[in-house]
């Protein structure tokens, strides 16, 4: 290895978290803990219509019956769900009409992060929806987008102004019954982004959401819902950071994507939550459910993720390939260091004919970290001529870290082709039989 590389590795393995500052902004909190009153508080704060409150309460009652999943290759310290603040918002003095009215401290925060909410950024062609703690602060560029009929706003605004779309699609890909964290999110989510691209429209700019956890002891529960109508196209980017704190903070998000006939959605994430310090103290617990459905034929959903942050990551962006000829893609680079733990991967569910999926995953582990890839490719009986190609590589830096690969493949018809490549080999009938036998 050349000395350049060594320097890079040193810089990486000893580099410190750059986004650990804390902004002193007046913040409004919900009382600590979780019960039906907390949920009513959140819903009331947001002036939500009745259907939302009902959705939340149903999710909460379901969540009470669920347990934390134990199957991930993670060591998760017990989480006290009553010791978390479920809603924290920068205190608004009045309704914001334009950017000038946004709290200068807040603008400064996003500027420090290299995220300008101002015009320059708009010129560069990125529309940003910034979510600070639980509330979407400002969606830039909305007017231009509106010309194309594109709706890009905070989830709360969508609930108020586009309740029909929200009602139709919210929970249709990730129902609250899906898993423990999805149920929790559905009960207490505070904000997030909503995006609707009408029929035949190519979104002219990259849409982007920026999440930041600022307040202490708070959990962030945001929800993103992206609907691409027939023939629409959108590329969407999500980024996140959090201040450096000694205690762990919880982040449980839900992202749902719906791509109708001939639509294409690209979703990229740069996940850079605070990973904890060198000794494994502090850091974000990141439990995220991301799933998209290719509902119509020829639809395409592509997930790209760079995962470097969080103390614990549990995340499997997935595609349900329902429409014939639809395409799902998952590209991931996960880097773990110190005491970080990542269990991430994807699910590709092939339901339609001639559906295609590609999975490329690279894991890099350093320090005492653990990095697992978990993938499920399932090809149903009716998904004739479906194809999957998977490739997972891992790189271990040092001898105290771990990398693990858990590929699960289920094929229910014989016209499909599944290739799993861990280094260079194709999964053959021999290998499949051997695995199934065990």
């Amino acid at each position: 290895m050349g000395s350049d590389n060594n320097q890079f590795l040193d810089a990486y393995t000893t580099g410190e978290y750059k986004y650990g500052f804390y902004t002193d902004i007046e913040t409004e909190y919900a009382p600590k803990g979780l019960n039906e009153d907390t949920i009513r508080y959140i819903s009331a704060k947001k002036n939500e219509p009745e259907f939302m409150l009902e959705f939340r309460l149903k999710a909460y009652r379901h969540w009470l019956k669920m347990k934390m999943p134990t199957w991930p290759h993670l060591t998760i310290p017990p989480i006290d769900y009553q010791d978390i603040i479920y809603y924290a918002a920068p205190k608004k003095k009045k309704e914001l009409k334009n950017l000038e009215e946004v709290d200068p401290e807040l603008l400064d925060t996003f500027n420090k992060l290299g995220i300008s909410l101002e015009e320059q950024k708009k010129l560069a062609g990125v529309a940003v929806d910034a979510v600070m703690d639980s509330v979407s602060v400002k969606t830039t560029f909305s007017e231009t987008l509106a010309k194309h009929g594109i709706i890009f706003c905070s989830f709360s605004e969508a609930v108020l102004h586009h309740p029909d779309l929200v009602k139709q699609y919210m929970g249709s890909v990730v129902p609250f019954t899906d898993n423990f964290f999805a149920a929790l999110n559905s009960a207490v989510f505070s904000d997030g982004s909503f995006c609707y691209i009408p029929r035949g429209v190519r979104c002219p700019v990259e849409l982007s959401t920026y999440f930041r956890i600022n307040a202490a002891n708070t959990g962030q529960f945001e929800r993103t819902l992206i609907v691409a109508d027939e023939g629409a196209y959108v590329s969407y980017m999500e980024g996140c950071t959090a201040p450096q704190r000694d205690e762990n903070q919880l982040h449980a998000a839900v992202v749902e994507i719906i791509a109708l006939k001939d639509a294409e959605v690209k979703y990229s994430t740069v996940q850079n939550w605070y990973p904890g310090d060198k000794n494994g103290k502090g850091g974000i617990y990141n439990f995220v459910t991301k799933r998209g459905i290719c509902k119509g034929s020829n639809a395409k959903i592509s997930w790209t993720q760079v995962e470097t942050g969080s103390a614990i990551t549990w995340k499997y962006p997935s595609c349900i390939l329902l429409g014939d000829h639809s395409v799902g893609e998952f590209y991931s680079v996960a880097v773990t260091n110190n005491y970080q733990q990542a269990d991430t991967g994807t699910k590709m569910l092939h339901l339609g004919r001639n559906t295609k999926s590609t999975i490329i995953s690279k894991g890099i582990s350093a320090g005492r970290s653990n990095n697992s890839y978990r993938g499920l490719v399932r090809i149903s009986k009716n998904a004739l001529h479906a194809r999957n190609y998977s490739q997972c590589d891992s790189l271990l830096l040092g001898d105290k870290c771990g990398a693990h690969t858990f590929p699960y493949i289920r094929t229910e018809n014989k016209s499909s082709i599944v290739e799993h490549e861990a280094t260079t080999s194709k999964i053959s009938e021999d290998q499949l039989f051997y695995c199934q036998q065990r």
């Binding site: 690969t405 858990f406 280094t423």
Partner: protein
């Protein structure tokens, strides 16, 4: 009765390999299957395990009274059937630890038991590794990748020890083993033997049967079991070869 095979016929690409196999295996028994190359021993093992490249055209296999033809490969494995492969397959990128953890927990799930906590699982691994005298670093590697022939075979026995099958079929697990490894494999089988489980050992060599004493020895020839006897049959075969059997048939 554990396993009852009646008039089993199986073919591949239209070519008939098994032509009416009858075999009964009871709990606590060890059966040895011998026979010339290419007569269908591995095919029989694969068909019992449910490999679907082979087409069963006639006959039936009952495992503890259940019709195996209705079960998939995984379901048969979960029912407690283990096949030690003649040629274990390499699975790059999947570590033995994960592979075994998944397999063990799948079986537990099928039987309605909670998954084994990581700590206990590792303890179990260590214990079973000792049983088959496996050095520790082997299990950190990808399944069989770059293993020597002998290491692969030892790894098969290790996996058998982890999965505690009710019926273990060992297809030439002794081939390619040095004399120490042979003893280790045989010891593994003997230690895992209980009155409830059974072993079917496919081998070409009488020497394995010095360590694993079979209750029955069968000779498979041209897709049929043409002769069965006690362990003395193995000695007779070692002395006389297969010619006399071929002539009789």
């Amino acid at each position: 009765m554990l396993l009852k095979i009646t008039n089993l016929h199986a073919s591949i690409h239209g070519k008939e390999i098994l032509r009416g196999i009858n075999l009964e295996v009871n709990e606590g028994e060890i059966h040895a299957i011998m026979g010339p190359n290419g007569t269908g021993k591995s095919t029989l093992a694969s068909v019992i395990a449910g490999r679907d490249v082979f087409e069963v055209t006639e006959g039936e296999i009952l495992f503890r009274g259940k019709n195996l033809m209705e079960l998939s490969v995984e379901e048969r494995a979960r029912e407690g059937i283990f096949l030690g492969f003649q040629y274990p397959v390499e699975i790059p990128g999947v570590s033995i630890t994960n592979f075994m953890r998944t397999a063990v927990n799948e079986i537990r799930k099928y039987r309605g038991i909670d998954p084994l906590p990581a700590g206990e699982f590792l303890k179990m691994m260590e214990e079973r590794k000792k049983l088959v005298e496996i050095t520790s670093n082997l299990t950190n590697r990808s399944v069989n990748e770059g293993f020597s022939g002998g290491e692969k075979k030892r790894n098969e026995i290790f996996q058998m020890a982890m999965l505690e099958p009710t019926l273990a079929i060992l297809d030439e697990t002794d081939s390619g083993l040095d004399i120490d490894a042979l003893r280790v494999v045989a010891n593994g089988v003997n230690k895992l033997r209980t009155p409830e489980n059974a072993f079917v050992v496919i081998t070409h060599y009488q020497r394995l049967l010095d360590y694993i004493i079979p209750d029955f020895v069968h000779v498979l020839y041209e897709g049929r079991i043409v002769k069965s006897g006690g362990k003395e049959l193995a000695i007779e075969l070692e002395e006389k070869g297969y010619d006399w059997i071929k002539k009789e048939n």
